[in-house]
């Protein structure tokens, strides 16, 4: 649905994006992830036909974004970084205006506007002037504007900026609900957003795509290891050696828990091995007491930092420390399957 080949854009001598290539299949959600200034907005502006590229081609639904701009514009909904809102219009009036601009036929307009408002939860504010809306509502009007003409391709530049946590969840549900019938590209620098909404992720840094894959594969392939955080007390002598002997365990770090007699073990494992049961039984057999055990998974944040931080020349898979070992409390990464404490 979207094919980007060797796309480059320069502002004077400064390259904003450099040789960017990716494709998005119909019905897919692609997350565009990168630090501020990485080239996300530039790429999206080129795809929307707003900016011309310096080199390379981009095609949306088979049409070239530059030479067949009008055909592309009819098929995309675009939410720019700053929602393009007219302060002196009401929400409904604004959406009608956009629907007219986007070529929604007169008969469908009212239904389309109502649908977009319902999808973005805007019904209560439909007669409010846009200048009176809060930031969250403005963002949602921007989103409604992008979907009001039911375009096959939707380009969203940071769609959840300025929303409160509940609205963020609603918008994510909305975006997921749009997938399938629509092809969506969204950019963000909020990492959990990508792992929760997107089918695939493209990580961009300094104008170059550094990785494209599903969030899960990226996390597994690039950091590669699962691990466990274990709280123990009692006989912890020789425990480290015994644990290290278990197949699949890569290394073990022991650190005292402050204000407690317990110790915290960080156990890193090799990829795809699950030695949790062996670890637990080893601790118990060696006379220790097991208070809590939690699976730790590398998060997209780890992946992202690996890929976008230049000070680390070590390849990510070789890096033995995805978890910082100074951390005094067990990591509480919000992966749902991680929470399986096994008290003795």
């Amino acid at each position: 649905m979207i094919e980007v080949e060797h796309l480059s854009k320069r502002y004077g001598p400064h390259p904003a994006i450099d040789d960017v290539c990716f494709t998005v299949e119909p019905g897919e959600i692609l997350g565009f992830l990168g630090p501020n200034g990485a080239g996300k907005t530039t790429t999206m502006r080129i795809l929307s036909g707003y900016l011309p590229a310096t080199a390379g081609t981009a095609r949306v639904a088979g049409y070239d974004v530059h030479s067949q701009s009008m055909a592309v514009r009819q098929r995309i909904g675009y939410l720019p970084e700053t929602p393009p809102l007219y302060e002196d219009m009401t929400v409904r009036g604004y959406l009608f205006f956009v629907a007219r601009l986007k070529g929604v036929s007169a008969g469908d307009r009212a239904a389309q506007v109502d649908l977009a408002m319902a999808q973005c939860n805007l019904e209560t504010e439909q007669d409010t002037l846009i200048c009176r809306l809060s930031k969250g509502f403005r963002q949602r009007v921007g989103l409604a504007q992008a979907i009001v003409h039911n375009p096959p391709v939707i380009i969203l530049d940071e769609p959840t900026v300025g929303l409160d946590p509940r609205q963020i969840i609603e918008v994510r549900h909305l975006i997921k609900g749009l997938a399938g019938n629509h092809t969506i590209i969204l950019s963000t620098h909020i990492l959990p957003e990508v792992s929760m909404t997107c089918d695939r992720v493209a990580i961009i840094n300094h104008g170059k795509i550094v990785a494209t894959d599903t969030p899960d594969t990226l996390m597994e392939a690039l950091v590669g290891s699962l691990g466990y955080a274990v709280e123990v007390s009692g006989a912890t002598q020789l425990l480290t050696q015994k644990l290290n002997a278990i197949a699949g365990v890569r290394d073990v770090q022991l650190s005292p828990l402050p204000d407690s007699a317990r110790m915290l073990l960080h156990i890193n494992c090799h990829g795809h091995s699950e030695p949790g049961a062996a670890i637990a039984s080893t601790i118990i057999k060696s006379g220790g007491q097991l208070h809590a055990m939690q699976r730790t998974r590398p998060t997209l944040e780890d992946v992202f930092l690996e890929l976008t931080t230049e000070e680390e020349p070590i390849p990510p898979v070789e890096d033995p420390e995805p978890i910082p070992d100074e951390e005094p409390i067990p990591p509480t990464e919000p992966t749902p399957e991680a929470a399986n404490p096994e008290p003795k």
């Binding site: 707003y50 514009r73 700053t82 929602p83 393009p84 809102l85 002196d88 007219r100 601009l101 070529g103």
Partner: protein
């Protein structure tokens, strides 16, 4: 068909925004006040036309008969033309500068709408607002002409007002182009005001230069053509000159918006 729908959409939005803008009401108020004062002054004051004609009749010196409504129309629309030049920058300054400031240009530029369609819709909106400004003035004129001894043939005032609207449209079109150059409405207004002054000065400069420049520039001068039309002289070259300025403004606007895409950093 789609193009017409788009023009209409932009036009309606633009017109609506004028009727919701406090600035537009201030401009309208000042325009109505000044045009009303001028109206009364020209017609009824001690130096007014009626007094002037009465004095010349009393003096007993034989004079060619004076067509009072015609003379009044000539002088009145001359002043309203100048007044229009002053309010045009205030009406046109926000046309694109506001869009640039509010980032809504990104919406227009990514919608399936041509730049010239947007420009034409916007121009139509502001011109219709300007015509609305003229309405109270027309009522005053209608009352005055109805009181004339001989009925005023409608063709002359119609042509004069058409000239006024064409003059305003041409200036608004150029002002619209100037408002694409900046995201500051104040700068846009100053640029347009400078242009209006420059267009007026061109005639004066041309007179100093002598022939053949004087004739050449007179052919291109908006004000000369305006004066000719207000006098009731219908010349297709006037229409042509006004249309050229209007189309030039729309063309430059469309090009300027296209160029903006390349400059953005």
């Amino acid at each position: 068909m789609t193009i017409f729908v788009n023009i209409l959409a932009i036009f309606r939005k633009e017109l609506q925004s004028y009727f919701l803008s406090p600035l537009a009401y201030v401009v309208a108020g000042v325009f109505w006040l000044l045009s009303g004062i001028v109206f009364v002054y020209l017609l009824l004051s001690d130096q007014g036309i009626i007094q002037e004609v009465a004095l010349s009749e009393q003096s007993g010196i034989p004079m060619p008969p004076v067509d009072v409504p015609y003379l009044f129309l000539l002088r009145y629309l001359g002043i309203i033309g100048s007044l229009t030049s002053f309010i045009v920058p205030l009406l046109s300054m926000g046309l694109y500068a506001e869009e640039r400031k509010a980032h809504t240009l990104e919406l227009l530029a990514t919608s399936p709408v041509y730049n010239w369609v947007v420009a034409l819709g916007k121009l139509a909106g502001v011109v219709v607002f300007y015509i609305t400004l003229l309405m109270p003035m027309l009522v005053l004129e209608f009352v005055a002409f109805a009181a004339a001894d001989r009925p005023v043939p409608p063709a002359v005032p119609l042509l004069a007002h058409l000239a006024l609207i064409l003059l305003a449209t041409a200036l608004l079109s150029l002002g619209m182009f100037l408002s694409t150059l900046t995201s500051s409405t104040i700068i846009a207004a100053i640029l347009t005001f400078t242009l209006v002054i420059a267009l007026a000065m061109v005639d004066l400069v041309a007179e100093q230069l002598g022939q053949p420049f004087e004739t050449a520039i007179a052919h291109l001068s908006l004000i000369k053509h305006y004066d000719t039309m207000v006098q009731g002289v219908f010349d297709s070259s006037s229409l042509f000159v006004f249309a050229s300025y209007i189309i030039l403004g729309i063309f430059l606007t469309a090009q300027s918006i296209e160029l903006l895409r390349f400059q953005r950093s």
